[in-house]
Point group: D2
Chain length 339, copies 4
Amino acid sequence: MNRQRLNIGIIGAGRIGRVHAETLAFRVPEAFPMAVADVNHEAAAAVADRCGIPKVSADYRDVLNDSSIQAVLICSSTATHADLVVEAAAAGKHIFCEKPVDLTLARIDKALAAVSKAGVKLQIGFNRRFDANFARVRQAVASGEVGTPHRLHIISRDPAPPPLAYVKVSGGMFLDMTIHDFDMARFLIGDEVEEVYTAAGVLVDPEIGKAGDVDTAVIVLRFRNGVIGTIDNSRRAVYGYDQRAEVLGDKGSIATANCYPNQATVSTAESVRRDLPLNFFMDRYTESFASEIRAFVEAVAGDKPVPVTGADGRIPVVMGLAARKSYDERRPVRLSEIA
Amino acid sequence: MNRQRLNIGIIGAGRIGRVHAETLAFRVPEAFPMAVADVNHEAAAAVADRCGIPKVSADYRDVLNDSSIQAVLICSSTATHADLVVEAAAAGKHIFCEKPVDLTLARIDKALAAVSKAGVKLQIGFNRRFDANFARVRQAVASGEVGTPHRLHIISRDPAPPPLAYVKVSGGMFLDMTIHDFDMARFLIGDEVEEVYTAAGVLVDPEIGKAGDVDTAVIVLRFRNGVIGTIDNSRRAVYGYDQRAEVLGDKGSIATANCYPNQATVSTAESVRRDLPLNFFMDRYTESFASEIRAFVEAVAGDKPVPVTGADGRIPVVMGLAARKSYDERRPVRLSEIA
Amino acid sequence: MNRQRLNIGIIGAGRIGRVHAETLAFRVPEAFPMAVADVNHEAAAAVADRCGIPKVSADYRDVLNDSSIQAVLICSSTATHADLVVEAAAAGKHIFCEKPVDLTLARIDKALAAVSKAGVKLQIGFNRRFDANFARVRQAVASGEVGTPHRLHIISRDPAPPPLAYVKVSGGMFLDMTIHDFDMARFLIGDEVEEVYTAAGVLVDPEIGKAGDVDTAVIVLRFRNGVIGTIDNSRRAVYGYDQRAEVLGDKGSIATANCYPNQATVSTAESVRRDLPLNFFMDRYTESFASEIRAFVEAVAGDKPVPVTGADGRIPVVMGLAARKSYDERRPVRLSEIA
Amino acid sequence: MNRQRLNIGIIGAGRIGRVHAETLAFRVPEAFPMAVADVNHEAAAAVADRCGIPKVSADYRDVLNDSSIQAVLICSSTATHADLVVEAAAAGKHIFCEKPVDLTLARIDKALAAVSKAGVKLQIGFNRRFDANFARVRQAVASGEVGTPHRLHIISRDPAPPPLAYVKVSGGMFLDMTIHDFDMARFLIGDEVEEVYTAAGVLVDPEIGKAGDVDTAVIVLRFRNGVIGTIDNSRRAVYGYDQRAEVLGDKGSIATANCYPNQATVSTAESVRRDLPLNFFMDRYTESFASEIRAFVEAVAGDKPVPVTGADGRIPVVMGLAARKSYDERRPVRLSEIA
């Protein structure tokens, strides 16, 4: 290679680690995937082979100790994120960490403190901010195109619930799934939420209820600036991955529709129809995954602020804890009650 | 006229009285508008002239005392509805009464008792049930096309707030505007609401707040059958009258879009655009006004049950009072707390 | 009735006669349907009963001889139109005549001469000009919203072919069906066609071919002003009545979509779909039928020019004859070759 | 690199050469861009630098003489295509050649004969076949989803005319622009065209007319199987790149809409609008460019038939010549008149 590239190490070679590795290998000429580590060495090797990554290891410390590496992507399981952030910061690496940083505020705060102390950059993997649709909504709000915002409505429904085993360790729907929507709410409105109220239930699968979680929810958000937000979550929309947002302001509204595999409409004697929306989050958000990694590389290479900060990683966890508390106590809960 | 028609008297010759008179005159061959009364005699005379109504009066008693008249439409101001229902029932007339019957439950109950005692029919003017879009949503739910319902979302936004003078006597947004949505929620889901939670504010016009009312609201509805409903209200959507509904069930969803004056799309160097949605409720709901009157005439002429009963007129008032209480006390309120 | 109304006689109580009678009875307060005549007296009587028309006859001369009648609607079969126009003109009646005036130019010219000599008004029943969608396209062209027009594309497909018996007497698809599109082309562009080229075939039903007609066609129109038009005709679109138009100009384009019974979209595990478009021309063009009659009444009552003239009735017949000649001779045909 | 890759040489480092080079470098792990040649050495070097291509030359013969290279992409100017195909075939390279192979049939036939004699593979760069929208239309036709096809309508409008200098050497609109649509017509219907009729004019820019070309056209296609096709071309659609197709069959229709940068709709007091369609063919067809190269690599690596053959490259040129002859002589022209 005859150009200066940012050498990056990848910790975790699961689904999202593989996606980020491919982005680095094939779509970000300014970066180079130098190493990949996973306790499952075979998984790491497969990713390395696919993406032309020279160094493979079963031990993430081989990545952290590699002085040729300037930044790491933490793509391992959630429980390991906070400790890895602390260690990576101590090793002087810039950090891209998948969401959530952790499910407990104490561990998040410890991680953020380590980052702060080390003076490295930390970007959180809220990829949806980089999706063309949501970015367009943000632009309409930020530019004043729809005026002062009054209402925000986010629809976020999965095509099907995750396996029950995952549900049990996920931290619950509010921290596993709604966390993306909490981030999106803050991003789209550009202000902070003060109070949440949750109406939720188990309508999709009783087993989810037995595991102590919910599968259907409405969360009402009261923003500091008066905006009233609503998040509509379901673990199962049989027609596909339903991801939309609408903002009403005093000069108009902006609303996004879903993304489809094609723009074809078939008209027959029965109906006028189109194929189902993109069904898998990897397809729906393909470009946003690439864009967030590009943004991270640019921030590190250009020594610019990251677009999704550690605080952006912390607040949605506070909101998730408040949403659950509201559901448990059947009352509105202020975020200040949580942290 | 050489056919048997149902003779109907109209009490109140304001905007909605005129619409119903035209429907009777021009679009329901089975009925005949025999008389119209309004304290403003000139208004009554104008309607009579336009619609070929033989009898005109400034006194509604002339209508009630007319033995050739079998049914009356009560289209006067809200404050007079309950008493007129009582008197019309006593006169043995079948009754179509505009919503709301009254803003207090005691007076509603008195009116319903009078109707019950007299054995006449009473239909409440929730016209939106007869709109092709909302009727299609109801059909999808009732037929199982979208399976067991989990979520209901109603968007109901006016193009502009009413005059402040009206706001002050309207009973507040929840009883004046949301009352239609409370009816729609019960109609679409086919079940009763047990609890409401209101997040609301004054975002459109501070004068509305000074008058003690709100102009922007989200009301969360908890149905007996587990469905979670949300109503999105605003007194001002600058792009027009925004009236939509969506139901998510375990077999799919159904969602309606707004109605437009035409199906044309203009593409220029600036944008791809269409004309604004129908802006005025009389245009948007033209057909539904005619259909509800037809349904009333059919119920009376055929001695069949009316499609919107007195109870259907009472419950939305309970919901409106609960919604206000929830707003005032910042907590979920059960309908059983109200009545 | 206490108002001055225009008394109108209706000749022909078939489907379209009945529609116009209902419009006059129920939707045009300025007019009054005074008489209806049909060789099928029973049909005339049924319309009279439905619409409160005082005079019924089996003989159209009873209408023409009625001095209380100022205008007539000619809704009888096509073969009778030209003679009835001549007789009505001689009787001094203003005339609304269903399209086509006739299938031969000589008879059309005789009818137009009679109208001209009598000094009465003649409006031709090209109702689609009054449809909100096509009117919006015309407005975009006339106002310059899409700039100087370059291209016109009209899609006009029937849900199903007419009965074969009708096909045989219809004058052929170009004079029976495309005639509406020829009128629409002239109306939308506001200029005249000089040359047509037809590519057509029998793809829907071989019986139509045996009857000497075609069922699928593309007609290319060369306008005087350089615009290139195309008309897409089919006798069978299984999904419904397909009626659309698009104009491309140097500042943009305008395109219309079909009309649907509702704005609901159903999403299931199979597809995202909506109900079929309005399937029947009476439903699709309901409002346009009423509007054209209103326009006729206004033109007569206010002594203003009619919006669709005798010449507008003649030219589409020339175009239809040219389209057929082009099909027969497999070459472009100039209208000047016809007449 | 530790995997077996197909080594490919790229001849021509202009816009399309660069796109294909990036695809090979970043999106097709099974291939490797080994060399790039361009008479403009600087352009070739820039592409090599961007894509990590080891060998750079100003002489295409360096590519053809490189025994490590198994296949070449011919991305140079049209006038050089045919000779390069002949030389590449003689060198035993598999060939991907941009469209058109040439503007004269004699030279195309010479090139195809050379390919045939050498026994190498030749794929033509009709990328649009690989677009998700058009592929979906083809699927609907091929699978019988819309039944036996009757009508095909292709809209293909550029956002703006090319520079006049290019117009003069382009071979004319029919061979430069419509050629894609001729290919698309054959692809979508899966049958051959027998006759074309062209209505065309100079409506966009008189300078184009002075250069002997047209800028607006309708081409009517008569297929062997009776389908009637229409192609709508314009050199300027101010709203963007307009690329649509519709097929009507006896069981229904399929129609594609344009592609947009996002799915957001903005509603204000003026209009309900969305951003303009993708404006640049590179954006609109990004994925199709990658897919066609992947298909070529798969065909060569797997020794399978290429999806777009030399004959597929020849026939659209015949159609383009016939379309021009039809325009010049103002009559339908059979393809058998051309070749």
